[in-house]
């Protein structure tokens, strides 16, 4: 991270080029149908940055795309899930085919690993996962980030110790940021704040860049202070087809389209990647291929009715 009050605004292309290296551990923000940084996930696919480990809680299509493009060889998460729209099919297939190592945790376990990272403490205890195969039946290929220990104040009482997790870089979508990286996430934050603070680098995509003066006038809204942030990308609709609270609903039609390609895999999935990502210059071009003004306005209207 950078401690400087500098202007960190750049394009997604520049940010990914500068901060996402081959072999990185990449933190994935958002959950299921909400507030995933699709613009940054697309850019990772576009640049073909490989051998990634993707970490998060409930990882959605942003993770699935990177896995589907063959760029990840490990995930650590609680679930791959798009709820109403099914599981994350590229991820599922990669695991079933032995192409991806999945380190399985409960959601709180992942959340606490990030919390520990954000506080600079080496590990953190939890009382979840006890008695289950989340502790017993773990992949042999993985590093051992879980230890079963004893509560020093309650002898013979087992407690699970989780190793802190500090991603090399996290990609997070937010509603607002100023150009130095003071970030405002509105609505649920899931694990994003702790993950950002735990990360060595943070790239923020946001709907809108606001003046630092606006941050300072209403500082109770700031969820991630600039200290943790390295790059700020202004990308309206940057979470599409997932939703962005107060801005737009998720796009069910595009979700279903993606899911049908991901479920089928093979050529159909490659066509999706080629048409929408590899074949587009940037996220705006993707948006114009994937949707149209009328439908986007409807997604905005639909959100306005809910907040």
């Amino acid at each position: 991270m950078s401690s400087k009050f500098g202007n960190k605004v750049m394009t997604a292309n520049e940010a990914v080029k500068q901060f996402v290296a081959k072999d990185s551990v990449v933190g994935i923000g958002g959950q299921t149908t909400g507030r995933s940084s699709m613009v940054l996930a697309h850019e990772i696919v576009r640049q073909g940055i490989s051998n990634l480990t993707l970490v998060g809680c409930s990882m959605s299509v942003s993770m699935d795309l990177i896995v589907g493009a063959g760029l990840a060889n490990k995930t650590e998460c609680g679930t791959g899930n798009v709820e109403m729209f099914g599981t994350t099919f590229a991820w599922r297939r990669a695991i079933e085919q032995g192409k991806l190592v999945s380190k399985d945790y409960s959601h709180l376990s992942m959340g606490l690993r990030f919390l520990a990272g954000s506080l600079g403490i080496p590990f953190i205890p939890i009382k979840s996962m006890l008695g289950t195969d989340l502790l017993e039946q773990r992949s042999e290929k993985e590093s051992k980030d879980i230890v079963i220990s004893e509560d020093p104040w309650n002898p013979n009482t087992p407690v699970v110790l989780l190793k802190a997790l500090s991603p090399d870089v996290s990609i997070i979508h937010a509603q607002l940021s100023d150009e130095t990286g003071n970030v405002v996430i509105e609505g649920f934050t899931t694990h994003d704040v702790e993950m950002a603070k735990a990360s060595k680098r943070v790239i923020i995509s946001c709907e809108k860049i606001i003046a630092s003066d606006e941050i300072r006038r209403r500082s109770d809204r700031t969820t991630i202070p600039y200290l943790y942030v390295d790059a700020v990308i202004e990308q309206p609709w940057g979470a599409y087809p997932t939703s962005c609270y107060r801005y737009y609903e998720h796009d069910s039609a595009h979700f279903r389209h993606y899911q049908s390609c991901a479920k089928d895999g093979g050529n159909k999935y490659e066509e999706y990647l080629n048409l929408y990502i590899r074949g587009t210059r940037d996220f705006n071009e993707f948006l114009s291929k994937a949707s149209n003004a009328k439908d986007l306005i409807n997604l905005q209207k639909s959100m306005q009715e809910l907040v």
Partner: protein, 257 residues
């Protein structure tokens, strides 16, 4: 008598296990439907908690996910995953938690991770999500699922979320903070509940018109304790109306008759 489907009665029956004032950890899908029904009928002071963070929202029907703006509507806070699963659930404040999964075994252990071998899976499932946390820390665990033989094996291929593990003291021996929770599995055929003496799921109610034999032939283990079985109370007019008009008006989760 009101006309209703067993799918409808399944979620209605599940909602009856929620008491007014309960703090309820809810994911998405049928648990959301059952919780909303309780909230909008007999449990108006229920506290609906979503793992993404929101606490006590006035949920707008019908959310499609835990990230949906409909579960943030007029919440008292939209919070964080650690606030919800840590500060409320792990902290011991959750009265009720819903989980789901592909397999539920005789000890009410749940598998939502893998069919087949973990290292060489036949079908990879989504994984725990918050389910393991909920099953470890909620005082009462509710499971809603359609009653099919493959869903009720003797043993799970993989235990994602703990039931009673391997017997009445299984949770205690493993060090799980809530050693003896109530667990109810509500299906379209029956209700099975944990017998705390055996640590096993035991048939307690049958859905109207369903025979014990039908349940047993759709269950790999034997949940029959031999005691006489109640019938699940039929859906009241109010319950049906609330479910159909207020909770799932578009029939997204529960198909109409």
């Amino acid at each position: 008598m009101n006309l209703f489907t067993l799918d409808e009665l399944m979620v209605i029956e599940a909602s009856r296990y929620i008491t007014n004032g309960d703090v309820v950890m809810v994911g998405t899908g049928l648990p959301m439907v059952a919780s909303l029904l309780a909230l909008k009928s007999h449990a108006p002071d229920m506290c609906y908690v979503v793992e993404t963070g929101p606490v006590a929202p006035d949920v707008i029907p019908t959310p499609t996910s835990v990230a949906d703006a409909r579960v943030m509507h007029r919440s008292v806070t939209n919070g964080s995953l650690i606030g919800a699963l840590g500060g409320i659930l792990h902290r011991g404040l959750a009265d009720v938690g819903f989980i789901g999964g592909a397999q539920i075994d005789q000890f009410a252990n749940v598998n939502s991770t893998v069919i087949g071998n973990y290292s060489n899976p036949k079908v990879r499932l989504p994984g725990s999500g918050g389910a393991n946390d909920i099953a470890s820390h909620a005082k009462k665990i509710l499971i809603i699922t359609r009653h099919e033989l493959r869903r009720f094996p003797l043993y799970c291929d993989y235990i994602t979320s703990p039931g009673y593990i391997d017997g009445p003291e299984g949770r205690k021996n493993a060090g799980i903070p809530v050693p003896y929770p109530d667990i109810h599995v509500v299906t379209n055929l029956s209700v099975m509940s944990i017998n705390k003496t055996s640590g096993k799921l035991t048939l307690s109610k049958l859905m109207p018109g369903i025979s014990k034999e039908t349940v047993l032939s759709n269950t790999s283990f034997n949940p029959d304790s031999g005691i006489p079985l109640q019938e699940v109370a039929p859906a009241s007019e109010q319950e049906l109306k609330t479910l159909r008009d207020e909770v799932d008006p578009k029939g997204i989760y529960i198909k109409r008759v």
